[in-house]
């Protein structure tokens, strides 16, 4: 897989941006790259990159996260260190952008620097099982709104179509028509499919590339839904 110096993940809220950004950071770190990930989500204070702080630290990934992430301070402010991603060209930078156009406004201040360097990939994360991006047309509308909000154009798509714990290989295969249509409508190539790590091996080999995702186990599973190997409390 070829990597750009900067990789930006944006999309509809709840499309899976944070999980993919974290897993991609770990993937790059595993290849021996010097990686820095910035949480630029100023919209949703609930689910964030900082939830994976321990995993990232163990892998040697630098995390830049709003000072008040995971606290009661609902303050839409970015830390000054965020500039490191665009200024320090010795690192591979990953930006986890907030959901929808509202979340993408924060990216706008970095857009001129990102464009000037010109070594970036901006991925639109799509899940066809999310109700507001159920059709390629709906997804395209949100894609365009994000581009307008942040002043950057997407360069590719990530197919993160999934139904959470109910995801099977068929769930992902059923999304292929959707993502192809979105690719056609947007003129953007598909970069990646994603699949939860236990589902990924069951996908056909023709489907590639696939980024296997390790997910946080902070899931309020009921006893009947719980896989045997999962601890009582994530």
């Amino acid at each position: 897989m070829e990597h750009k110096r900067l990789t930006l993940f944006a999309g509809h809220y709840g499309s899976g941006k944070t999980n993919i950004a974290v897993n991609y950071a770990l993937h790059l770190a595993a290849e021996g790259k010097k990686v820095c990930i910035a949480d630029l989500d100023i919209v949703n204070p609930y689910f964030r990159t900082a939830d994976s702080a321990e995993d990232l630290e163990n892998a040697g990934v630098t995390l830049i996260s709003p000072q008040f992430a995971n606290s009661n301070v609902d303050l839409p402010a970015l830390p000054a260190e965020s500039y490191r991603l665009v200024q320090d060209k010795s690192i591979y930078g990953i930006m986890d952008i907030g959901g929808d156009d509202r979340g993408a406004y924060a990216l706008g201040r970095f857009a001129p620097m990102i464009l000037e360097e010109g070594n970036y990939r901006m991925a639109f994360v799509a899940n066809c099982y999310r109700p507001l991006t159920r059709t390629p047309e709906d997804a395209l509308e949100i894609l365009k709104e994000i581009e307008t909000a942040c002043g950057l154009k997407f360069t590719c798509l990530v197919n993160n179509s999934n139904l959470g714990p109910e995801t099977t290989p068929e769930t992902i295969l059923d999304s292929l028509d959707y993502i192809e249509k979105l690719s056609l409508l947007s003129g953007l190539p598909l970069w990646l499919h994603t699949a939860e790590a236990s589902v990924a091996p069951a996908l056909p080999e023709t489907l590639k590339p696939v980024l296997p995702l390790r997910l946080q186990e902070k899931y309020f599973a009921l006893p009947s839904q719980k896989p045997q190997n999962r601890p009582l409390w994530g």
């Binding site: 809220y13 689910f47 609902d74 929808d100 109700p131 959470g164 009921l222 009582l232 409390w233």
Partner: protein, 353 residues
């Protein structure tokens, strides 16, 4: 199989409300329920509905009052501090006997508190919140699927009894994502001859009002309203029983606390402790009969709550204090772990309440 979609709890409420025929949403943003407003803002203009971000919570509840008086299916949503602001309007709506649908995705309190999940608005929802003698139907979902199904149920019940139905959820269920479907959506429709729809000069005009100039008239209204409440207490309680058949101990928990408690019950069963769980789905009307029947079988109860202990009072009342009731709780945005609940079950097993 019905189509599956992956939704946040908050989105499930918004989509279910639209499917229930709600075309009027008035709100004011507050974490952790803002996705409801965001979803409505996106969807309502596309289906000929109204999304309006009011200038305040007080304005939005009064817009609900107005649209409900005109016979519309209408809703507002907020989180704890915002619901306090809406309390006056809730009382006026109750006093006017009109149906409304309100969502509280609770966060830690009191005061501005925090933004993390909580269940500490139980008293506010079930005992009043606003002034005067009134009740609201209070529904407590424990999954994203129930956020949807209880929303539809809430709209139906509100119209049926001409009163407010409230979803009392919490930040966790509002924010978490689960696959759901809308297959069993049964939309009931009710005639609204009282609604302010214009007379066309063909009938006497309707009045929607909570002001009574004569005290005896006001008293009569209150008596009538409470007769209606009695019917609801008899016919509408909903609850789930889990492993109660041979239970010697009973955990009582609603919403997100019930999911944690279920794991603890399963772990306790693995240790040989005969424990079950009753999960109230309606908090008002409270499943009094189910709890009272359980009190004749079990040796004690454990109320698991994300508050300093509010539902525990209703458990004691429902069981007529026949058995001891222990409290297992966290608050302020913290959630008890299954291990903490398990420890309370072990203690209760030893007779420590």
């Amino acid at each position: 199989m019905a189509e599956r979609v992956l939704m946040k709890g908050n989105e499930a409420i918004a989509e279910a409300a639209i499917r229930a025929g709600c075309r009027h949403y008035f709100g004011y943003p507050i974490t952790p329920q803002t996705e409801i407003a965001a979803y409505m803002a996106k969807k309502m203009p596309k289906i000929g509905g109204v999304f309006l971000q009011a200038e305040s919570e007080i304005a939005s509840i009064n817009m609900v009052y107005g649209a409900a008086a005109a016979g519309m299916r209408v809703m507002t949503s907020s989180s704890s501090p915002g619901i306090s602001l809406k309390a006056e309007g809730l009382s006026y709506i109750a006093g006017s006997d009109i149906p409304a649908f309100v969502v509280n995705v609770q966060r830690g309190g009191p005061g501005l508190g925090g933004i993390q999940p909580s269940q500490s608005d139980y008293f506010q929802a079930t005992k009043g919140g606003g002034h005067g003698d009134y009740k609201m139907i209070v529904l407590a979902p424990a999954s994203v699927q129930e956020m949807a199904s209880l929303t539809i149920k809430g709209f139906n019940l509100a119209d049926k009894y001409r009163m407010t139905a409230m979803i009392l959820a919490d930040g966790t269920i509002g924010q978490m994502m689960e696959p759901i479907s809308f297959e069993d959506a049964e939309i009931e429709t009710y005639e609204k001859p009282w609604a302010l729809t214009g007379t066309n000069c063909e009938r006497k005009h309707n009045v929607v009002n909570s002001l009574y100039l004569q005290p005896d008239e006001l008293e009569k209204k209150n008596f009538e309203r409470y007769e209606r409440y009695k019917v609801i207490e008899q016919t509408e309680p909903m609850w789930e029983e889990y492993q109660m058949e041979d239970a010697e101990l009973c955990v009582v928990a609603f919403g997100i606390a019930s999911r944690v408690a279920k794991n603890a019950v399963a772990a306790a069963r693995a240790e040989g402790i005969k424990v079950g769980l009753i999960r109230p789905i309606t908090l008002w009307p409270f499943p009094t009969k189910a709890l009272n029947a359980a009190a004749d079988k079990v040796k004690g109860f454990i109320s698991v709550e994300l508050s300093m202990g509010q539902m525990i009072e209703d458990v004691r009342l429902a069981t007529q204090c026949k058995r001891p009731v222990a409290l297992c709780n966290r608050c302020g945005g913290m959630i008890p772990s299954p291990d903490e609940v398990l420890e309370s079950i072990r203690k209760a097993q030893k007779g420590e309440f």
